[in-house]
Subunit: 336 residues, 2 copies
DNA sequence: CTGTTAGCGCTTTCAG
DNA sequence: CTGAAAGCGCTAACAG
């Protein structure tokens, strides 16, 4: 048996002693350096196995100058988007032998920066999801964080970016409603300072320019289920026949409250969401939405990070084009 | 300005040189050791600020023998339960200045153990969520992982455990249906080997013993939306008036498919879920379920871990009693 | 091919 | 109160 009670883990010295060689030789064997006599190598491996030896990642990291760990900082672990990014990132990084340190800033924008810097020092790079961080703060932060990959948020071209094309997707959702005869639309906006909200507003502008006969009201709302629920009154009393929720959560909250108010979807009002979270296809009616492949975002973020870590030039910035999922929550416009 | 292009981070030596003191003194100042002359301390702090110096966590960890990091290993980051545990854990550990390393075993039971051991070495302890790991493997693993906290799974009393009381909660759901006149019940079972499935089956046994006039069929199903969806046929053609889904996901999938089949909930069949995930209250009809405070599970896991790390005797094992949320998906039994 | 030596960046006796 | 020196566990020249 190896480890007994409270025993400190065996060191490379222990293995060396047991195998009757120097620590350097043990190191060579453990790292697959072939320039070691096979007989010796055998002895070393045997000793290592008997002692259940594993090199201390800490010590290796210190001398190698790399931790084999990356950090991901997210504003909110409760948000399905970041959960998906984390999942994709964690899986693909793990696949390449990398570990993931997670930093949840709990929406605190000030903490976020400190957190990012502090976390950065414990690992080899950081994947940053910071949709609300002011542009200027971000610029100041980025150099300190390198290597860094940005998710769902642009910067100068010096830092790799993975993002979903919120603008184009919302534009397509607007067109979908328009094609169904809707001329009076309502957009339930998310966090005013967020990058993805800005992208959506840009889509609105494009749409207004292209479709002067349509009208789109912007109503401040929020990003959560409850926010959508609370917006039902505004929707019910308004004259819009089509509502674009900031995301699926908002759309689901809205539909739920609409149902209680006796407003029928899609007969009375069409509703579209955004993200295509796991539950969107199972609401009643199933939600029309733009499908954002969040796990792939995370996966691609890792691929970029991996390039950076290997001092390869990272692949070009990726702008995922969400797929429009047309389901039961949208239908022809009805005169109200 | 401090850091310029590609500059390596300043070391304690750099600060010492700039302040005209020894590294030891810098160390003392940075660690709040008061036995340093205030004038010197000022100079050191000034130098540190100018250089934007921060002690390398890596080097500190090596010499201090602690990383200020814990790991959490989960079988699946897609599962809302583990997402919640992670969230609660991350927030509360972060609050105490600890970092969280995440290991997603992607349901691979073999990898899980290797992953756990490997991850353990990079940090000070691990919170283990391993509902499917065979008992014997777990016992063998635990000593290597110490300090360790177990979530939703018991072990000998030597290791702190946080769990939800699945048995009692399912028992209460069974009684709820019984009290509504249901005598023919169906349980859609989850992963056969999982600890929480076993707890639910135990509840079934209790119920059968206490209510001999009721009948409960166990149907293998699964844990996901799709699994519930696929079970609708069995439910629709069966004679049960009440269905207990393994969890909310399954219940939602089931209700969705039931709707398509023209089976009304709760008029034709009552459905209960389990977990009370964020969306459960917004399904149509809203889902009756047992509310498991997943984030609190994570939070309490951290509290236990913190005790362990400070070599305090951890607080007693915690068994969260889920709260029954009675909503619209359950009603009086109907003769079928 | 293998051992010796010198660090990685920090903390901590131990002297002075 | 402060500095010199040793060492956390490992790897990477550099000799032999």
């Amino acid at each position: 048996m190896a480890a007994s009670k409270g025993a400190r883990p065996p060191t490379i010295g222990d293995v060396a002693a047991r195998a009757g060689v120097s620590p350097a030789t043990v190191s060579r064997v453990m790292n697959g350096n072939t320039s070691v006599d096979e007989a010796l190598a055998q002895r070393v491996r045997a000793a290592a196995t008997e002692l259940n030896y594993r090199a201390s990642p800490l010590a290796r990291s210190l001398v190698l100058g790399k931790t084999n760990t990356i950090a991901v900082v997210v504003p909110d672990l409760e948000n399905p988007t970041f959960q998906g990014v984390l999942r994709g990132l964690s899986r693909s990084a793990g696949h390449d032998g990398y570990h993931v340190l997670i930093a949840d800033s709990a929406e605190s924008i000030t903490d976020e920066q400190i957190l990012a810097v502090e976390t950065r020092r414990r690992c080899d790079g950081v994947v940053l999801c910071a949709p609300r961080m002011p542009e200027s703060d971000l610029r100041a932060l980025l150099p300190e964080l390198q290597p860094v990959v940005l998710v769902n948020r642009g910067a100068d071209s010096s830092v790799p970016t993975i993002a979903a094309d919120y603008r184009t997707a919302l534009r397509e959702l607007l067109e979908l409603l328009y094609d169904n005869g809707h001329r009076s639309l309502m957009f339930l906006a998310g966090a005013p300072q967020s990058a993805s909200n800005a992208a959506r507003l840009a889509a609105l502008e494009e749409f207004r320019a292209a479709r002067p006969d349509a009208r789109v009201d912007v109503v401040p709302c929020g990003v959560s289920f409850g926010d959508g629920y609370d917006a039902a009154g505004t929707v019910a009393t308004g004259s819009s026949t089509g509502v674009l929720a900031f995301n699926d959560l908002v759309a689901m909250g809205l539909m739920s409250a609409l149902g209680e108010l006796g407003v029928r979807v899609p007969q009375d009002v069409s509703v579209v969401g955004f993200d295509d979270i796991q539950f969107a296809r199972y609401t009643t009616p199933p939600l029309t939405t733009a499908s954002v492949p969040v796990a792939e975002l995370g996966e691609q973020a890792w691929l970029r990070m991996r390039d950076l870590l290997n001092s390869r030039r990272p692949a070009r910035p990726l702008l995922f084009r969400p797929r429009i999922e047309r389901r039961g929550s949208t239908g022809p416009a009805r005169t109200r």
